[in-house]
Amino acid sequence: MNIFELKIWDDERKKCTFYTVHVDGNSENETDRFFYRYADEKNDFHEESNIILRLVLENIGNKYGATDDFFDRHKNEAQALPPKPKKRIPEIEEIGIHFPLRLYCYRISESIAVLFNGGYKDNRTDQESKEISLKFYEAQQFAKKISKAIEDGTILVDLDNRTLLNFDGKKEIILY
């Protein structure tokens, strides 16, 4: 895996700060690449990507925070948005189950989450989906590296200020 920077994607929300990863050599960070892909109004999934964006910024970012309600599609380390309710009532399964897009993410706390990339899910599992299998794999790698860095102290988590810091106190975080 390439070198990547863990950087702020949006820190102006009331309940949650969003980070993203920017792979060395790419012109855009992973989350911007996701939204740019569907930015054209003529794109088949333009509305769906807007819905995910609204979910992230307004509902998770401003209203509820990164709670269990929204981060329950466990995909190994990384998780996927949009959420689906718990599998207990048949009709509940209908919400979100047919939603065509997936945006991968990693929740550090209810007030800090890292967003990755994602795409259109065209198969039963993410790994079998042509468009997102690679994104799924990459999200796992990013999440594992971030998780390990937090564990070994390379990344410091400042919950009071909802920020992540490099072990030396600086805001720039580069992982290998």
């Binding site: 702020i8 994607w9 949006d10 820190d11 102006e12 993203t20 989350t31 911007d32 939204f35 740019y36 930015a39 509305e47 990507s49 807007n50 819905i51 995910i52 964006l53 609204r54 979910l55 910024l57 307004e58 509902n59 998770i60 209203k63 509820y64 709670t67 269990d68 309600d69 929204f70 949009p82 959420p83 689906k84 309710p85 718990k86 599998k87 207990r88 009532i89 048949p90 009709e91 509940i92 399964e93 209908e94 919400i95 979100g96 189950i97 047919h98």
Partner: protein
């Protein structure tokens, strides 16, 4: 700091997308809360619906859109309201104002030895005067 592309998209987003995302999120949170409170699982649901657990499991992997009918079924199952339609207040201009009403009536006064074809305006008294006679 904000993502530039996110800001552009949010500003151009249709009201429909915003409403859908917001209501979806609210519904998710509410349903999860109710399930937790009621401690529902597949077995309990199967018993409640008098179905086999395997059949419930097939439902759980089914694919169909969330409809008003589905919400109604869910509300019936959970015994809780999930979506409420606001009651609309009547428009003020149709409300009768309190106080006195003046009624204007017109009659032909020829039968009362008054000038023919004269019309008088009768105001229904709104205040009874005390009998001082």
């Amino acid at each position: 700091m904000r993502s530039k592309i996110a800001e552009i998209l949010i500003n151009k987003m249709s009201a429909e997308s915003k409403i859908f995302a917001d209501k979806y999120a609210d519904l998710i949170v509410l349903i999860n809360q109710i399930l937790k409170e009621k401690q529902y699982n597949q077995k309990k649901l199967a018993e409640k619906l008098e179905k086999r657990p395997s059949e419930i499991n097939r439902w759980l992997t089914g694919e169909h859109n969330f409809t008003l009918r589905s919400i109604a079924k869910l509300e019936a199952e959970l015994g809780e309201s999930l979506i409420e339609v606001p009651v609309r207040k009547l428009s003020e201009k149709f409300e009768l104002s309190s106080g006195k009403v003046t009624i204007h009536t017109y009659r032909n006064v020829s039968d009362n030895n008054l000038e023919r074809n004269s019309w008088i305006r009768i105001n229904k008294p709104t205040l009874r005067l005390a009998n001082v006679g």
